[in-house]
């Protein structure tokens, strides 16, 4: 069994924290994993992406072959679209629906959403609005992880949840609780 995930967003949106939590949980479950991260220049407001591969047998390539990604988990809707040619036919896109507009030629939001909705499996929500409404505005990324949890069946949900706890533990109790609340809310979004 394997789950190949493309994590993406805009530099600074917190996709590496999502990767860290999944990595922590996968390691606790003794899964094999490889995670190719993007560092350096693109982290300055550019598109950022990470390939995360989980499997119960050893993983060869650090990069996911085209058409084999099971999940795209994206902090930004246009960034989710950037990788759809790498998604498998049965794959699912889990994305924030709120555009991050820092370029002059950003496409119309409704066109982006229409194209996303044309995909067979899509879960989209305005995670930033939800996170702000529930008073945990800095935990939108954990809300997104919660949305992805039902599709990450290779890791038991409780393991993911306790990985959230461990990863944020050094930032104090309030941060842990905000992230757990965000994660739990995310799991209820279909």
């Amino acid at each position: 069994m394997k789950t190949d995930i493309i994590l993406c967003g805009v530099g600074g949106q917190g996709i590496l924290s999502i990767a860290t939590v999944i990595g922590e949980a996968a390691t606790a479950c003794s899964l094999y994993l490889k995670q190719a991260e993007v560092h350096g220049m693109s982290q300055r407001g550019g598109d950022v992406q990470s390939d995360l591969r989980l499997s119960d047998s050893p993983v060869g390539s650090d990069l996911i072959p085209r058409g084999e990604a099971d999940l795209i988990i994206s902090m930004e809707p246009m960034e989710a679209l950037r990788y759809i040619d790498r998604l498998s036919n049965g794959g699912t896109v889990i994305t924030s629906s709120r555009p991050f507009v820092n370029i002059p030629n950003y496409p119309a939001q409704e066109d982006i959403m229409r194209e996303l909705e044309s995909l067979p499996h899509l879960v989209a929500a305005d995670i930033e609005a939800l996170a702000a409404e529930r008073k945990f505005p800095r935990s939108a990324n954990m809300l997104l992880l919660g949305m992805a949890a039902p599709y990450l069946s290779i890791i038991p949900r409780e393991e993911l949840r306790s990985a959230v706890e461990r990863v944020f533990a050094r930032k104090g109790k309030a941060v842990v609780e905000a992230n757990l609340a965000a994660f739990d809310l995310g799991t209820s979004i279909k």
Binding site: V10, G11, G23, E24, T27, Y32, L33, K34, Q35, A36, E37, V38, H39, G40, M41, S42, Q43, R44, G45, G46, D47, V59, G60, S61, D62, L63, I64, P65, R66, G67, E68, M78, E79, L81, R82, I84, D85, R86, L87, S88, N89, N102, I103, N105, Y106, P107, A108, D111, I112, E115, L119
Partner: protein, 530 residues
Amino acid sequence: MSERKLLLGDEAIALGALHAGLSGVYAYPGTPSTEITEYIQSSPYAREMGVRSRWCTNEKTAMEAALGMSYAGKRALVCMKHVGMNVCADAFINSAVTGVGGGLVVLAADDPSMHSSQNEQDSRFYGKFAMVPIIEPSNQQEAYELTIKAFDLSEELGVPVLLRVVTRLAHSRAAVNTGEPRPQNGLNPSDSRGWVLLPAIARKQYLKLIDKQQAIAAAAAGCGATKLELCPKKGAPGIIACGIAYNYVIDRLAAFPGKEVNILKVSQYPLPEEKVRSLAENSSEIMVFEDGQPVAEEALRAIVGDGFTIKGRLTGDLPRTGELDPDSVAAALGLPAAETFSKAQNLAARPPQLCPGCGHRDVYNALNEVVSEFPEARIFGDIGCYTLGALPPFSALASCVDMGASITMAKGAADSGLYPAIAVIGDSTFTHSGMTGLLDAVNDGSDITVVISDNLTTAMTGGQDSAGTSKFEAICTALGVAPEHVRVVVPTPGKIPEIKKILREEIEYHGVSVVIPRRECMQTLKRKKK
């Protein structure tokens, strides 16, 4: 105590070096190598062991200091991105001639596809040029183990060892099983005259290096991570897979079982000749998978001769440029590609850009307005976040070539009569390689204006300490720039009229002038506030 840890390739190298009894790491930040030194800097074990780890001014000072530590008998690591090899090449090549005392490992992190670089040069050429062993791990576990081995090998053969990785290993995470740390070497300075490379001694030392070549080749042939796997089928196609390319090959072969091939996995160079010949004897052809330039492909041709079919980057069977990936590897192996969704329609490029509130923005806004008054003006750029000033909305830069080239190119253009010739360079890049060029300009009385955009850090690579912080005015005046033409400003939107006035005055001054806009990087500021 053996442990299992989730580590970046870079971190696995750092931990391997610590467990090999490292006494000091010497490095200048550069993507994708930066995390090695950062790991050592934040390691409690390294602190406990007193491992020296502060950032160096540039790769040359790093390489030389590491050689000094090796001379004194201790183990030293030098880390850099591939283009850093150009900066330290003098010291690196000569360190093979002097030989080493304590183990000396030189880590070069190559960046094929130029994710964060200006070229995709292959550091293996430097290893071949210096005639030293080259080790290239294919995964994180090997990165840990082969780093330890590299130190042992360096001491055994008395030469520096080049450890080469590429971005996708440096910045990819996987679980690594770690072993017991070994103690550091004691102080044991060399008494050999071989360190004095006067011609008469250098000739002898060079012959010694030539004599070591057989042992270096034997060590590569015996590398445990290099392995030849022959399949039962007679005359199956052969594969040479170097470093990380091996992962793509085995991944695709596992996804499409049934394709029988002979594989030589290469983790150390020079290429193991005997294994290569055996591969050739058992194979109908050999396809070479290597990230970077066709180093192994060329070496293979020299071993098997013109009659044998070789496929690789030179023959067009693999892309000539850019990093390999499972898709390009699968295509070259003749494996089917998956059917996929077509590329999205509603998509725009999102290039990196200067952060909101960044002082470089104010510098370019002021510069662009002043420069519009001088239609002939050219602004020569340099390497760092501020290189993004080349992109819209600023589109300010005429050039970006290598560390420090802004000042010297502006000087050369000014010497040719171009006016105004302006250089924009960051604080860390200035101390890395800009100071010597500024001295040339002072000595020549060149008519240039140098903007040292000082954000108090090495920002592009994530905010490392900058060697010259709080020293820039003193450096510039000591190099001979007239004190009244070293002007410090604070780059904020409100100060733009003042910055423009100062820039205009210094452009109109016909000599070397330096303007230093100084304000802390938004990223490091944000981190401090957390």
